[in-house]
Subunit: 222 residues, 2 copies
């Protein structure tokens, strides 16, 4: 729910890539990867739009930001478009991620194949529970929060995954910020504050379920 940020393409002129259009690029990318698995070398704006639920005009507008990849009547090259989107989103590289709060959700995220496929590698685990400190999960040791600054510096983690209870979430974010993390993906159902210069994206799972209930209710009232 942040204001839309304009983006600049690293090697080129200014590009106005809003956060909403970045969201759509992520979804196009997912679809393109599916097409690649199926062996398709070309994809049309109509096919992408249908998969994501937007018009092909919207697709063409979103993809126009990435340079002149599409050819009328032929479509977009699957492989080239995947590379261009990954570059635009900043995921044409690996990101190292620190995870704080080793519960069931953390265990699920550690095994979540989608993260690795998109270049996100969890490199450090933290938990305040003495019973968990020193345990190993998926080859990673669980560290005490006191080790955060040192471990984050050593591992080069730039992003933090926050899977702690709401009550301790702000305190943990403050510790991550002090440890020079650049961005936090928060799963705690609470509103958090980060200083300017640190990015925050919150995933409130109840909000997603509320959106679903809202849509179902809409249909019911038809």
């Amino acid at each position: 729910m942040k204001a839309e940020d304009p983006a600049r393409e690293p090697g080129g002129g200014e590009v106005r890539l809003s956060r909403a259009s970045a969201g759509r690029l992520s979804l196009y990318l997912r679809r393109l990867e599916g097409f690649r698995r199926e062996g398709s070398k070309k994809i049309s704006s109509g096919q992408l739009g249908e998969a994501v639920g937007v018009t092909d005009a919207q697709v063409r507008k979103d993809l126009a930001h990435l340079g002149s990849l599409g050819q009328p009547g032929i479509g977009y090259p699957t492989e080239g478009l995947i590379a261009a989107i990954r570059r635009a989103l900043g995921i044409d590289r690996q990101w190292s991620v620190a995870l704080v709060g080793v519960g069931n959700l953390a265990r699920a995220l550690l095994r979540y194949r989608g993260f690795q496929e998109q270049g996100f590698r969890i490199v450090a685990l933290f938990d305040a529970d003495p019973a968990k400190i020193g345990q190993r999960l998926e080859g990673l040791e669980v560290y005490a929060p006191a080790r955060m600054a040192a471990v984050i510096a050593e591992t080069g983690a730039e992003l933090g995954l926050l899977t702690v209870p709401s009550e301790s979430a702000q305190e943990v974010v403050d510790a991550l910020v002090a440890a020079r993390i650049k961005g936090v993906l928060n799963f705690a159902p609470t509103v958090l504050r980060v200083p300017a210069g640190v990015s925050l994206v919150s995933v409130d799972l109840a909000v997603q379920l509320e959106q679903l209930a809202f849509l179902v209710q809409l249909r019911g009232s038809d």
Copy 2:
């Protein structure tokens, strides 16, 4: 990524409530519940906007759909606004939820306090793994997929939570649809199809992490 749907308020005239504004209402609600816990009886559009990251003009516009609750110079009544938002979102009632795919993510969701607080109750569990069928989790038995139609009819589940691997997600959605589920919240990182009349919201956790990487990259290029 569906098209915006206009909403109608059950007891009143037509209300143009877009899905984006429904998303903001969920976030206002979360903030209002925080204010209520702190004992605040009134809240201003500025306070709500600040918490959610939008202008107070946007807040007033969103809340205008709910009727004339706010008073200039005084603000909105916390309790009344909570009730009005819950009504608008269709969560002024309980929703029964069936969960399919009993892995780590499912275990996390079963204990996720936010769902119960917002009126979502998980009432049925399904898994295809013979080793899991018959197990009990948080007081609920895990059923075989073959029991889906019968158990969903018995329990009155209207929404489905999908926490299965991508490979089997479409098959499971089809089974849920055949069992007359009205909406599906999908956690599998894949694009799914549902027939008209069934709602689908997908939570792609890698997309959320990509959004974070995108924001961090933006700041880095400043």
